[in-house]
């Protein structure tokens, strides 16, 4: 399992000049793009962090965008990990869930580095993410569990229906904009009470809010949000794992 994780991490950027640095360059570039588009072109103005008083769009964006990118990566590559390793599955016996798990672990490794950089940057701009750091770490673990659970489900679905991966590409785009990452949650929450309620069912909305609370605002997320996140994450992980285990035995012949 650890070896497989290392294989993922090492294999990902093999034969590139920058190597592991790409795992940082990538999110920074995307962040810069969104920051320019939304802060300057569309003039999005999120409220200043409360109580941190931070008012830096890039940091505000990153505190929700980095978790989203982690989630997206785990789901998309985790989904392909079974089909992509077909030769291995058909020739060697080993617990198949290690493929999905090691994929998640390798992204979690990258995610941790990104978050560490973000913590440093926030400190530099006068934020106070350190006090709430333990909660952030718990949130990261929960997000990993949530993403892995979905990856389990989609990995199995992808074996039976190969167009799952194309479908998921679109769904993830939609999901991205249904989550307050590039715009403040108030934009939707203030619109209409019913819409706001439906909107808040989205677990990623809760995750975004929670990460923004701990990283940007410098306060603890509300108890309701935390409870919801814990229940949904562990529930999805269990569901994904059970479904995966049930289908595991037949994977070799269905591939």
């Amino acid at each position: 399992m650890i070896n497989l994780t290392q294989r993922e991490i090492k294999g990902k950027y093999k034969r590139t000049v920058l190597g592991q640095a790409w795992s940082l360059v990538n999110p920074i570039a995307i962040m810069a793009m969104y920051a320019v588009v939304f802060a300057f072109v569309l003039k999005a103005r999120p409220e200043a962090g409360d109580p941190s008083g931070l008012d830096v769009f890039a940091l505000w964006l990153a505190s929700a965008l980095l978790p989203w990118m982690f989630f997206n990566n785990v789901v998309v590559t985790g989904m392909g990990s079974i089909v992509g390793n077909a030769n291995l599955i058909q020739k060697v016996y080993f617990p198949r869930e290690t493929l999905v798990l090691s994929n998640s672990m390798s992204w979690l490794f990258t995610f941790a580095i990104e978050m560490a950089v973000l913590v440093l940057a926030t400190l530099l701009f006068g934020g106070e993410p350190l006090l709430t750091l333990p909660v952030t770490i718990v949130l990261m673990a929960l997000l990993a569990a949530f993403a892995t659970g979905i990856a389990f489900l989609l990995a199995v679905a992808n074996v039976y229906f190969r167009d799952t991966q194309h479908f998921v590409g679109i769904a993830m785009q939609l999901w991205f904009y249904a989550t307050p990452i590039v715009y403040p949650v108030s934009l939707v929450a203030d619109a209409h009470p019913t819409i706001a309620t439906i909107y808040r069912i989205n677990p990623m909305e809760r995750f975004s809010e929670a990460f923004r609370n701990t990283m940007y605002d410098g306060r603890l997320p509300s108890l309701g949000t935390m409870a919801y996140v814990v229940v949904v994450s562990l529930g999805v992980l269990c569901l994904g794992y059970v479904v995966f285990r049930r289908r595991e035995g037949r994977l070799a012949e269905e591939l």
Binding site: M1, L88, Q90, V92, G249
Partner: protein
């Protein structure tokens, strides 16, 4: 004796999809996933493999051997029945699967080892012997995508064999690498067996199955036909596979302009009866029947022998044999008489031809048009393809003992074995 592997009423069904709906749209439109036919790759197979024995699985292609092996290896789940294995297990189904092409040989050894179930300290301990066995010390830090296919396979085999499992499953992978590496593999297998480990082998090489295995199971169309001591089962299996030779075996080829045609070729024994078997030293006659569509001037008839492996043994044509008719027309035949067949035990193919006098234009050439077996006869010599009729004698020795005291060595006992 304890049992290493119990196979209990195992059946495995595959779905043969008529039209595989791997797209969601197709599935939704039909309201079900796919239509398929069922195919039973294995049906109610049961046997036990005692600990410390070497067990072989034989059968034709598609008889379910590999499926059974995969069921034992837990890669496939049987639909009915149960397989239980005592002790750790490693399967050599495909070597080097799971290698990451961009990673170095060293990293891949660790990766592959852990996929196969080894812990890191264990690999640390065995690393040197793995690399040493594969014989690629020099290249161990190169990415494996730069390896030659032989190196790739050798490293894969080396990792797998060094796991040191209680039960080893092997699928037709004995034939990898060069002769030297194969020898090393066979030694490793022998070592394995001496250490009291259980080995299960799937192979088509009946000779090695006979010598390697204690017991053999014979599968046919997914059903177990026979289990028992390897010699008995292999014999029955080979007997069933060996029907009387048909005149034109598969792989025969024919070309030529066609003005003259070889209608049939036969081998006759001393009594003039057609046969596909002869003994060393027998008188045989090869008879070629021909037919022409127009008169052919000065035709030359040719015959040649090859072993089934393709070694050119002998050739002779009628121009060199000083029999060239001025002209042939219509049906006819010509004989080549061999007074005493100087061939050793083997299977031979006959090539026959009619060409023009310059031997540059071919009227008809039939490759491997007649196959026959040569069985032991007189004289009996130890090995090879031909019988020279040589005799041992005139021993001169510095020893004071008279020559009459030397023990007679029974022929064939110490000499290289005859080819089967």
């Amino acid at each position: 004796m304890s049992t290493a592997i119990t196979v209990d009423g195992v059946s495995k069904r595959f779905r043969l999809y008529k039209e595989r709906n791997q797209s969601l749209k197709a599935a939704l439109m039909r309201g079900r996933r796919a239509s398929y036919e069922e195919f039973w790759a294995l049906r109610d197979v049961s046997f036990e493999i005692p600990t410390g024995s070497t067990f072989g699985l034989i059968g034709e292609n598609g008889s379910g051997k590999s499926t059974l092996l995969k069921c034992i290896a837990r890669i496939l789940q049987p639909d009915n029945g149960r397989v239980s294995v005592n002790g750790s297990m490693a399967a050599l189904l495909e070597l080097g699967s799971g290698f990451h092409p961009e990673l170095s040989g060293r990293e891949n050894v660790y990766l592959n080892g852990s996929i196969l179930g080894m812990k890191k300290p264990e690999i640390d301990r065995k690393f040197d012997s793995i690399v040493d066995f594969a014989g690629i010390e020099q290249f161990i830090d190169q990415p494996v995508k730069n390896y030659s296919s032989g190196m790739y396979v050798r490293l894969g085999f080396s990792v797998a064999i060094n796991i040191d499992p209680d039960v080893l499953l092997v699928d037709e992978v004995l034939a990898v690498g060069d002769a030297m590496f194969q020898e090393k593999c066979m030694e490793k297998f022998a070592e394995f067996r001496r250490a009291g480990k259980t080995v299960v082998i799937v192979s088509h090489a009946m000779g090695s199955m006979r010598s390697l295995c204690d017991n053999v199971a014979w599968l046919k169309h997914g059903e177990l036909i026979e289990v028992g001591p390897s010699n008995d089962v292999v014999d029955t299996y080979v007997d069933e596979g060996h029907v009387e030779r048909v005149e034109s075996p598969d792989g025969s080829a024919r070309w030529g302009s066609g003005e003259a045609q070889l209608t049939s070729i036969e081998m006759l024994d001393a009594r003039g009866e057609p046969t596909t078997r002869a003994h060393t030293g027998d008188q045989v006659t090869f008879r070629m029947h021909f037919d022409t569509t127009k008169p052919i001037d000065k035709p030359v008839f040719g015959l040649a022998l090859e072993t089934v492996e393709g070694t050119y043994v002998w050739g002779h044509h009628s121009r060199d044999g000083n029999l060239v008719p001025d002209r042939i027309e219509g049906r006819g035949s010509i004989d080549l008489v061999v007074p005493a067949l100087p061939l050793q035990t083997n299977t031979y193919d006959l090539n026959a031809s009619i060409v023009d006098y310059t031997t540059t234009h071919t009227y008809d050439f039939r490759r491997a048009c007649y196959r026959f077996d040569v069985l032991n006869g007189t004289p009996h010599e130890s090995g090879g393809l031909v019988v020279l009729g040589g005799r041992w004698g005139h021993l001169t020795a510095a020893s004071p003992e008279p020559a009459s005291n030397t023990t007679t060595i029974p022929s064939g006992a110490t000499a290289p074995s005859t080819r089967k």
